[in-house]
Amino acid sequence: MIRHLFTLIWNRKRSNFLLISEILLSFFVLFAVSSLLVSSYYNYRQPAGFAYDNVWEVNVSPSQDTASRKEMLQLMLQRLQATPGVVAVTRTSSNTPFSFSSMNTNEFYYQKKQGPLTDRYDADDEMQKVLRQNVVAGRWFERRDDASTRRPVVVNQEFAKALFGSEPAVGKVLSNDKGIESWQVVGVIDAYRRGSDFDGNNPAVFERHVLEGADRFDPNDRPNLLVRVQAGSGAVLEQRLVKEIQDVTKGWHATVTTLDESRHDKMKIVLTPLIALGVVSLFLIVNVALGLFGVLWYNINQRRAEIGLRRALGATGAGIGGQFLGEMLVVTTLGVLAGVILAAQFPLLGVFGVPTTVYVLAILLAAVLIYVLTAICAFQPSRIAAGIQPAVSLREE
């Protein structure tokens, strides 16, 4: 019977080609959507690489006067640090966790090899106490880095893997595009996925910037502070921090948000296009399903005489239903097979830098969905086929 199915499908290759194309196309839509979903979920399950609970972001708007801003900042940091309930304070560039600002660069070279596109962060010695990045080799910045001739950097494993391969990263010297050796790696953290829960672990470099070392201090920079507070701190501490800042700076304005709030806000904004895409592809799939359903329905009506004949020759109603499901199974498998071969090119060519497991899972998911889809679409037409009475074979058109 299976051979018979293949013979039938082969002999009807022209009409089946359309059906297979339709299945191939919907497989691709499903594959694209599942890739996105699976990779989002995959990223979601990865460790963030830092701790955002009990961390507050303090946005300070300085007044116009820039003359003694550096001293003001220094004083402010000291006061905040000394406030009861505060665990640690760090000053960062504007690309704080969950913010919409980012900085990336491919200016790093190692022995003439250019590094990947890398997220770049300014960091001081306190940052690791606030965000608790997981240092897996070497160390975070320390006071003694003041004495170093090259600017100290901490990199994440993704960056280290890309530039140094399996060699230890600590101690490596990075140069810029003119070959000037400007940076030295002092530590490696495992990950820093600060964009959102759905972001991948991009290569990242933290550059040491401290107020004491006067270099690169731009008085026009807006100071961004991250404050780790003791668990359970609330509005009282928040008001206290704002007041401290105003006291020290004589009127600078400050607002406080928790990183957890920022995380939720960012999540909403990242999820919106994902959900929109999901809805669009859902419509697409419903469309494909209706098309498939129509084609199958039409086929069965076209083949009423054949069905009557088969029943007259000894097929049972269930057997006819099974034959139609079987044909659909074979056609679906051909479409899925073609789709898998094409989809497998993505991990094989390594485009988009998505892990292979994500693609494999996405292909599996898309295949399962296609089979479910065609099974649903073929179910009712096959039942109709099974119900066609054998007597139709004697009625002449």
């Binding site: 019977m1 051979r3 018979h4 013979t7 039938l8 002999n11 009807r12 005489a305 054949e306 009557g308 004949l309 088969r310 029943r311 007259a312 020759l313 000894g314 097929a315 049972t316 109603g317 269930a318 057997g319 009475q389 054998p390 007597a391 074979s393 004697l394 009625r395 002449e396 058109e397």
Partner: protein, 243 residues
């Protein structure tokens, strides 16, 4: 049920000995009910077909001949009365049992051949064997080949129906009916779509099947000449047997 296609000598008995009932219709009534009209297609038909007989059925169009054949072939159920095959009433048969009886005992030949155009001649002839358990694909091939030889088409096995003449197509349909080695062949105007020469060929084939292999044949026809070549002629008018 292992009937082969080689001539069975026991079956070529004289007509007078053909008294074992193969198919019996008792008080058969068939009413087609549609939304608005009710058509009485058959009205209290009593009929016995004996093993080895060649019976022809004549009657004006619409008198219920095809309906009668579909009931005999278990393609449809009567609204009243009982059908017996080999002395067993089929009223209580399940869909599966009916399919089995159709497959093993009955062969159909239709006016418009009803070949599947997307299957080769050989694949068409193999069809009834596909629905029979316990046959290897080699056996199926062999039987189909033999049946095609029997109708003189062994050179056309790889052709498709569209590449054959009407007479050849009907011979393929006969080979298909033969492949399952049925005890009875039900033919609904088998020569209706053919010219007289081709019709003659088909008639000869059916006659020789009946003569050489003892296959019971029931044939609906509009052709008096052909009807007179058979042992028994039944005339229908308006749903009832008139002679």
């Amino acid at each position: 049920m292992e009937t082969t296609l080689t001539p069975a000598p026991a079956a070529s008995a004289p007509a007078s000995l053909k008294t074992t009932p193969m198919l019996q219709l008792r008080d058969i009534e068939k009413v087609y009910q549609t939304d608005t009209i009710e058509t009485v297609a058959l009205n209290r038909v009593n009929l016995t077909i004996n093993k080895g007989e060649f019976v022809s059925i004549m009657g004006p169009s619409g008198c219920g001949k095809s309906t009668l054949l579909s009931l005999m072939g278990l393609l449809d159920e009567p609204t009243g009365g009982v059908i017996e095959i080999d002395g067993r009433a089929v009223t209580s048969y399940s869909d599966k049992e009916l399919a089995r009886v159709r497959n093993h005992k009955i062969g159909f030949i239709f006016q418009s051949f009803h070949l599947i155009n997307d299957l080769s001649v050989l694949d068409n002839v193999e069809l009834p064997l596909l629905y029979r358990a316990g046959l290897s694909s080699k056996e199926r091939r062999q039987r189909a080949q033999q049946a095609l030889e029997r109708v003189g088409l062994s050179a056309r096995t790889r052709h498709f129906p569209s590449q054959l003449s009407g007479g050849q197509r009907q011979r393929v349909a006969i080979a298909r009916a033969l492949a399952g080695a049925p005890e009875i062949i039900l033919a609904d105007e088998p020569t209706g779509n053919l010219d007289s020469v081709m019709g003659e060929e088909i008639m000869e084939l059916l006659l020789s099947l009946n003569r050489d292999q003892g296959t019971t044949v029931v044939m609906v026809t509009h052709d008096e000449n052909m009807a007179h070549k058979t042992e028994r002629l039944i005339r229908f008018f308006d749903g009832s047997q008139v002679s």
